[in-house]
């Protein structure tokens, strides 16, 4: 055994065959990046360098990695993607900015990993919102307390890459007791080249704060982009964060969105993701429950067709007793579409009276569509209530005939059933203003009418009467 291990170590030291993109990233970091970050505080630089070393050592995930067995990155990592250091913002890019009808929101824009507009501001209610890089300089003490505190535990090379190379992202600080704040984030991949985009965000909710985030991930150009979008989220006692996300990027691009959160006593953290288009979408969520009476809900709907692949990797850790978590993911897979669901629940030894649930349901519309659904329960406490379930099936032919016998076409009968299947996640939306736009988006997507839009997808989704 020892001999073997020694051999492996020796092997590791040997020059490794690098993927094209890996080598490109390493060269870029070593030769060009230092001048980009020269104004950053030392603690950030240090974190970047450490992450870079880890990335250099580990490289991109491969099919041999447990959570990447179904996700082949080779089409991306064997290509060049170029870091976008300065984004020229087209003047009218946000002329048709996202608008959710009847909902008052503060809107921010992230383009190719850069924060657009007024870089950092304190709003009337004391909310601090703006560029993370700007926050490093203006609020170093505040940022230092939180930044990288959760992601540092990650062993995912995507997070190493993001940490080493992020250009910017948003910083959101919600002071104690602030309520009725809706933030709308538009992330755009919009470069005339194949771009490597790394965005890093930090969200802090102090006690009793309650906010909604509505995020749209879009892309304009029909270029292939490789994007990471990492977020750290701190939800303090009695606070509530509801995060809705709509993902609709072009069918050449990959987007890895990883969020790491810490949820304190009596707080609520709710996410509901609508994954609509993209060559590869991967959402990883790691949530750590550190107090009693917490409720964490992670929901998602993935609508996959052509040769798309959408992954959802969820990890909920119950580190404290008496809390509740629920994972509910549903997918419809058509053509050669692929899906990967990996849902993990960890109940630590002292986390008694935990209630943790997980459900993943899928409909496959063709023989070639594939879903891999993997539930993991790791339970070390004895007084808990946990369940998990996964189903995969086809549309019910008896129901199809029943619907058609009432004069409804086969296509509409299928749509009716698929829409009904998706309905559970629409019903889970807590913000009433989002319900109609979401319904409309899903109908359009199921009907094959939703393409990569010229403007924000929620805008596209304004119901046409």
């Amino acid at each position: 055994m020892l001999g073997l291990r020694k051999n492996t170590q020796n092997l590791k030291k040997m020059p490794k065959t690098r993927k094209l993109l890996e080598q490109h990233i390493i060269d870029f970091f070593e030769n060009n990046f230092s001048k980009q970050i020269k104004d950053e505080p030392g603690f950030v630089k240090k974190i970047r360098v450490e992450a870079f070393e880890l990335f250099k050592e580990k490289g991109f995930p491969t099919l041999k990695d447990e959570k990447w067995r179904k996700t082949n990155l080779s089409r991306f990592v064997d290509s060049y993607y170029h870091p976008v250091l300065n984004t020229l913002i087209k003047e009218n890019i946000f002329e048709d900015a996202c608008i959710v009808p009847d909902l008052k929101t503060k809107n921010i824009y992230l383009v190719n990993g850069h924060y657009v507009g007024k870089s950092l501001e304190i709003l009337e209610n004391g909310v601090i919102l703006g560029s993370l890089k700007e926050a490093f300089i203006k609020y170093p003490d505040l940022v230092k307390k939180y930044f990288h505190q959760l992601i540092k535990n990650s062993t995912n090379p995507i997070d190493y890459l993001n940490t080493a190379l992020f250009t910017d992202g948003f910083f959101l600080y919600i002071p104690e007791g602030i309520e009725d704040f809706n933030l709308q984030i538009s992330q755009k991949l919009d470069a005339p080249i194949d771009a490597l985009v790394n965005t890093r965000n930090l969200i802090i909710l102090e006690k009793d704060a309650k906010i909604n985030i509505i995020q749209c991930d879009d892309s304009n150009e029909h270029r292939s982009h490789f994007a990471t979008f990492d977020s750290e989220v701190f939800v303090d006692k009695n606070a509530e964060l509801n995060w809705y996300k709509y993902q609709n990027i072009n069918n050449l691009s990959a987007l890895f969105s990883n969020s790491f959160s810490q949820v304190a006593e009596n707080a609520r953290f709710y996410t509901n993701f609508f994954e609509l288009n993209g060559k590869l979408l991967r959402n990883e969520q790691f949530s750590d429950i550190i107090g009693k009476e917490v409720e964490v809900d992670h929901y998602g709907l993935y609508l996959v067709d052509k040769t798309q692949q959408f992954d959802n990797v969820i990890y909920i850790a119950h580190s404290s007793e008496g809390s509740y978590s629920n994972q509910k993911f549903k997918g419809i897979l058509d053509d050669n579409g692929k899906g990967f669901f990996n849902g993990q629940i960890l109940v630590k030894k002292d986390a008694q009276q935990t209630n943790a649930y997980q459900k993943n349901d899928n409909i496959l519309l063709t023989d070639k569509a594939k879903i891999s659904s993997q539930p993991f329960l790791e339970i070390y406490a004895d007084d808990v209530s946990c369940s998990h379930g996964s189903t995969t099936g086809q549309l019910d032919n008896e129901a199809l005939f029943y619907i058609m016998q009432r004069g409804i076409s086969k296509r509409d009968a299928q749509l009716l059933q698929l829409y009904a299947f998706a309905g559970e996640l629409i019903e889970a939306i807590k913000l009433p203003e989002l319900i109609e736009p979401t319904k409309d988006l899903i109908k359009k997507r199921l009907n094959g009418e939703l393409d990569v839009c010229e403007s924000c997808i929620l805008q596209c989704a304004v119901p046409t009467e």
Binding site: D396, N397, E398, A399, F401, Y402, I403, M404, Q405, R406, G407, I408, S409, K410, D412, A413, L416, Q417, Y419, A420, F421, G423, E424
Partner: protein, 262 residues
């Protein structure tokens, strides 16, 4: 008086897989008529309903079905429905997540589109919906529920009649709508049918028992056996069957078959 038949089935043969179920069936239905099709289990009554409505999995090997002068077998299931054929299912299917109102609005709008009309206005739709609910004695709260989900057996059957009332078909086929019903539900179902009966439409009531026919009085009664109609009479034939059972039909049929062979 227009007496062109609504439905004409001539020498119909149909099979599922390799098994022939309908073996040379003839039937003519005129507007304004109520036909009952009776017969023991497994003689092809439900298969006949499924073939007329175009359910997948049945192969017509011979014969034809003419409906309103058209070759019905050329039409897709939804076209047959849009042409006014309605099937009251023996086992209505549950469709989770699709509310009754959405389902019926979609069905009505499909019908209107087929006729070149605009979608029904929501107000008009709800008014009509409530009217028909009342007709079959269905509580209003059911309209928000998913189609047939969690409905009792009686509720499901009433729901079929309710849908029929809304869609106003020209030819309604009721496949054992009476099975599993208590007397009140049976009366509600029969009431619905009787209110909808008129000189232009027709009903094909498939049933095993006579009791539904006490409430829906048929003009013509057929007995189906071994994939064919072996006996046709008036409402008294149903009564005779109720008294004597099906055994004598079987005997008679076997005898005539033997005679034919000899």
């Amino acid at each position: 008086m227009n007496k062109e038949p609504l439905l004409q089935i001539k020498n119909l043969h149909a099979k599922i897989g390799d098994k022939e179920i309908i073996k040379g069936l003839n039937l003519t239905v005129n507007p304004g008529e109520v036909h009952a099709i009776m017969g023991p289990n497994g003689t092809g009554k439900s298969t006949l309903a499924n073939v007329i409505t175009g359910k997948e999995g049945y192969e017509v090997t011979d014969g034809e079905i003419i409906y309103k002068g058209k070759n019905l077998l050329d039409l897709d299931p939804e076209e047959r429905a849009l042409e006014g054929i309605f099937l009251g299912f023996q086992y209505p299917v549950e469709i989770p997540g699709v509310s009754m109102t959405n389902f019926m609005k979609a069905a009505l709008d499909a019908q209107r589109k087929y006729k070149g009309q605009d979608p029904i206005k929501p107000g008009e739709f709800l008014k009509m919906y409530r009217e028909k609910q009342k007709m079959v004695n269905m509580p209003d709260k059911m309209k928000n529920r998913s189609v047939n989900e969690g409905f009792s057996g009686g509720e499901k059957k009433k729901n079929e009649i309710f849908q029929m009332a809304l869609l106003q078909p020209d030819l309604a086929i009721l496949d054992e709508t009476d099975s599993g019903l208590d007397i009140d539900a049976l009366k509600a179902v029969a009431d619905g049918v009787n209110k909808l009966r008129n000189k232009d439409n027709a009903f094909l009531v498939i049933t095993h028992y006579q009791r539904l026919l006490d409430h829906i009085v048929p003009d013509i009664v057929h007995v189906m056996y071994d994939g064919k109609i072996v006996k046709t009479g008036d409402k008294n034939l149903a009564k005779e069957l109720e008294e004597k059972g099906y055994a004598w039909i079987e005997k008679e049929y076997t005898k005539s078959k033997e005679n034919a062979q000899n």
